[in-house]
Symmetry: C2
Subunit: 232 residues, 2 copies
């Protein structure tokens, strides 16, 4: 949302409120991004202390979601937004729900780091880390698109989800082979499997957020539709 659009409001206070809630979303996104990065570090380095901090900080993420929700409800009640203002608030309400769930994924990976000591040099963990970095990049791009309400960037994010799915499928095949070759490894492999699944879901959630951005900018609900042609 650019400054031009914001300025058309007669009420400067309303502008300030919308801007504030939008900044809150970006702050929340920044925290979630750091949580995710830290959770991968904690798992790769078996850093129990870092893992505990992530689990502790998930409460902050949850608290931010609740506060932003309340702020949106207050704005709706007080300002009776319509058209693009209302779409922005709807987009924000949905975005924070997905961000909160990405935060849960980070917490889940941190729990794994807490429970299990995995060998960071094993090729399955190296591949998992690669997939994790891919998810972090996707989340970063998603938050960038949100910050600038950049619909083209949102389309690019949307397309990226397929890449994470591919990495996930490849990792899944590798993990199956490991288990069949050495059944004693099964408990550890299953642990990596859960982490991979959590990372794969992050891609889905970034895709959702990209759809809310497109909805805000284009005024069209594009969820559950094929976006191949829409970006042109």
């Amino acid at each position: 949302m650019d400054q031009i659009k914001l300025n058309r409001h007669i009420s400067g206070q309303f502008n300030a409120e919308l801007e504030h809630v939008r900044n809150q979303v970006l702050l929340m996104g920044g925290l979630v991004e750091r949580q995710l990065q830290d959770s991968l570090t904690a798992m790769m380095k078996s850093d129990v202390e870092l893992a505990r901090k992530i689990i502790e900080d998930d409460r902050k993420v949850n608290g931010m979601e609740v506060r932003i929700d309340e702020e949106c409800a207050r704005i709706i009640a007080k300002r009776q937004p319509a058209a693009s203002d209302l779409r922005l608030i709807m987009a924000i309400l949905k975005t924070i729900a997905d961000l909160e769930r990405i935060g849960d994924c980070a917490e889940r990976i941190a729990t794994i780091a807490l429970d299990k000591k995995l060998d960071p040099s094993s090729s399955m963990l190296v591949n998992l880390d690669g997939m994790g970095q891919q998810s972090i990049r996707m989340l970063h791009q998603t938050l960038d698109s949100f910050a600038r309400m950049d619909v083209d960037a949102a389309f690019r994010v949307h397309k990226k989800d397929g890449e994470i799915d591919q990495s996930y499928e490849a990792l899944l095949r590798q993990l199956m082979t490991y288990m069949m070759e050495d059944p004693r490894m099964i408990p550890n492999v299953i642990t990596v499997l859960w982490a991979a699944r959590a990372l794969e879901r992050i891609g889905d959630r970034c895709k959702n957020i990209a759809e809310y951005i497109i909805y805000f900018v284009k005024g069209k609900d594009v969820r559950h539709t094929d976006l191949t042609d829409m970006s042109n």
Copy 2:
């Protein structure tokens, strides 16, 4: 939401709109419930045709979500709801997002039924079905609480999630044992594992919906808080 509350609106048309959107949510919930039941049947009976129908019908679920979202946005823009009306709309917006995701779980289980022929008499499938029936009961109770906006029932649903988690943990342990005893079974067991995971997530989503009901009735956002004392 009881009739008394609805009747305080001066505009009978506004009442009708709120009632209509609420009924749409219940219709969507009913469809999702059937999808879930059918997906388990399809998996237990390796019924490919039923599985295809479920995957096809997931589009209906998605379409309902988008339409309800639009209807809520229209009501906000037109009626400028405040207090409990606004809370109802916020609760509905969040509820349908979770319902849509439960629908996705059903679709995922249907895809498994399509891809793999599993032996329905194997004890792992019997236990999976048991867990599935547990999820369906929980979803049913959740929709019942929503229909009556019954906060006590919502608290009961909220407590139930722990039971599904327990069944899931027990099944997970059983599946690990199977894999270690007979590595050739690993691909099939992993399939059951995904289905179990999907069912376990349904419990989480019902819990979310229960929290939105409590939020609507009590006017308090209880997400991410311990509800042990609140129900008294």
